[in-house]
Symmetry: C2
Subunit: 337 residues, 2 copies
DNA sequence: ATGAAAGCGCTAACAG
DNA sequence: CTGTTAGCGCTTTCAT
């Protein structure tokens, strides 16, 4: 015999009140006499009643869940953002539906649509380049979208980032100040505006500031995994590169290990700066110097921004720029710092 | 003027059929004449109709979403499981609601309840010790639960794991065969049955096999983070330990770096074996030898198992044990292997 | 093969 | 402060 799910109606009957009243106490509506509230609460307790969020969602047109599109949870960079997102979501009584996209345009569209079908109240998107098709889908629905740690040059929707240009410029400047002559720019695909437009621009700016020529032959674009980093090390050394700015922590560790295994000393012969400061930068030996993105905060602030939008509050600035730091650890020479 | 959401009713009207028919074509019910199916499909296309999953969920009592309770997405071990879970979920048309619990009993109960309120079709739980209260909640609802990479001695619900005892026993045996005399057992809290009962048992077994005494003074229990590992290294060296089995990859890297920074050679003076083989084991220098848990697969199989249960299919064995491997990399001496 | 109609469990006016 | 009454958008018998 099936266990009968007990509904708001059962509670109403047992408590001798109407469904509306039960609904009121469940939702904390103050317009209920304390004594009847108490009575209802007792029945709820006794019957072990649990409101059905789906029914509630249908009736109220709000699901208190937000969709989160993430390239890959297994990537510490995004996982850290996701953690910030979830914590703030929880704080505001939202849950998150997490969907991996692998930065695949087709999957992104696909996932976005199922998220919308599930009537999420909002969406947080993390990824790379936002295709026109995706942008079109974003605006087609009136569901609010916020970008976390990703940049859309069109700036249609809210977003949270740091000033990648300034950060990169600063760090390259430091490398130059340290006496490095040939500083490589190593990056995940440049199709990502953060890499291709912002970080690269910061790199160029620093070069200009120092009166150095931009040399495209030491700008590398590759899939950001450990192996590619290890492999690139030899090439870097062969090119006479003596420092590298690396967009992608895993890539940075690969390069670091590759360079050391090749017999060079870090930071004496070769300096490296990573750019995300995910947990793994501290696992390297020596520990990686890195731009310190406030990963958790980016996620948290993005979610907070989304709650405001969902709540139709006034937003002063929908493109939020968070402060960054640069932390010089073992892969840069720290004299004079 | 508000954009009017278009419903199944609108489609029915425009296509001159009943809602039931539209519902049928949307759900791929074969009992529809091809010509009318075509007609309906055209209207759906024209009106850009998208079924409301919430309404569907209320009517059908199935939400096609599963809840995933995870200690912390930021932990590569669990993130890897989560990836396997999500991929298989997607394959079977489910979405996942991801909720971080921090292995906090209170949060776990809390989260479980909101998941149930949202009428998830099933739950995948990852964590540590399953408290009696949690176990009680599990059985209180008829929502199926599967444990991924976590052990409940009570074996109430389905679960997917490897044979931790055998794996640990094998790896300790190897360390002994390599001539190591004082092998520490370093672990995250032993309250987790995997650590406290299975892994530790494997460790003891190996000792017995080799006719060595169990020495509690070199069994360490601590929060599994990098810093604790680094700090423990000195103690280990002081104790005259010459090898360590470490349950927790981050912890293992900490110990590795600590030991090397103290001037020892790895693996000559000190061997280390990690036990989860998350991505970071390869980022260490030298790369960490490790028990190779099929993390992704554990998640994937757990989700697959859950789909079967949700689908009320016959389950031959609800406690699944996946094969493991041991991969000897740079932190163990590999002579004779 | 198709339609009518009764819910699914809850919220939200509205009335009192 | 409380009850009545419509729905929310879709699935699902049950007829036809």
């Amino acid at each position: 015999m099936e266990k009968q799910t007990i509904t708001i109606y059962d509670v109403a009957r047992e408590a001798n009140v109407s469904m509306a009243t039960v609904s009121r106490v469940v939702n904390g509506n103050p317009n209920v006499k304390p004594s009847t509230r108490k009575k209802v609460l007792e029945v709820i307790e006794r019957l072990d009643y649990r409101p059905n969020a789906v029914a509630r969602g249908l009736a109220s047109k709000k699901t208190t869940t937000v969709g989160v599109i993430i390239p890959d949870v297994t990537n510490l960079f995004f996982a850290s953002l996701a953690r910030g997102i979830d914590d703030i979501a929880t704080m505001y009584k939202y849950n998150i539906i997490l969907a991996n996209s692998d930065e695949n345009e087709h999957k992104e569209i696909q996932v976005l649509n199922t998220l919308l079908a599930k009537q999420v109240d909002g969406i947080i998107y993390m990824g790379n380049k936002i295709t026109d098709e995706l942008r079109a889908e974003f605006s087609r629905s009136k569901t609010p979208v916020v970008l976390a740690g990703t940049i859309d040059p069109e700036q249609q929707v809210g977003s949270v980032n740091i000033d990648y240009i300034a950060a990169t410029e600063e760090v390259i400047g430091k490398l130059i100040a340290n006496g490095k002559n040939k500083i490589a720019f190593v990056s995940a695909p440049l199709s990502n505006p953060i890499n291709g437009q912002h970080r690269l621009k910061g790199y160029k700016n620093a070069l200009i500031n120092a009166n150095k020529a931009y040399d495209e032959s030491i700008v590398f674009e590759l899939e950001p995994n450990l192996h590619n980093g290890e492999e690139l090390a030899a090439k870097l050394i062969a090119e006479g590169v003596d420092a590298a700015y690396v967009a992608g922590d895993e890539l940075a560790i690969g390069i670091l290990n590759g360079v050391i295994n090749a017999g060079l000393n870090v930071p004496e012969d070769f300096e490296i700066v990573a750019s995300n400061n995910s947990k793994i930068t501290e696992m390297a030996r020596p520990k990686l110097s890195s731009i310190m993105l406030p990963l958790y905060d980016i996620g948290a602030v993005a979610m907070r921004l989304l709650t405001k939008i969902m709540n139709k509050e006034e937003i002063d600035e929908k493109s939020i720029t968070l402060p960054y730091k640069i932390i010089y650890r073992g892969t840069t020479s720290n004299e004079g710092k």
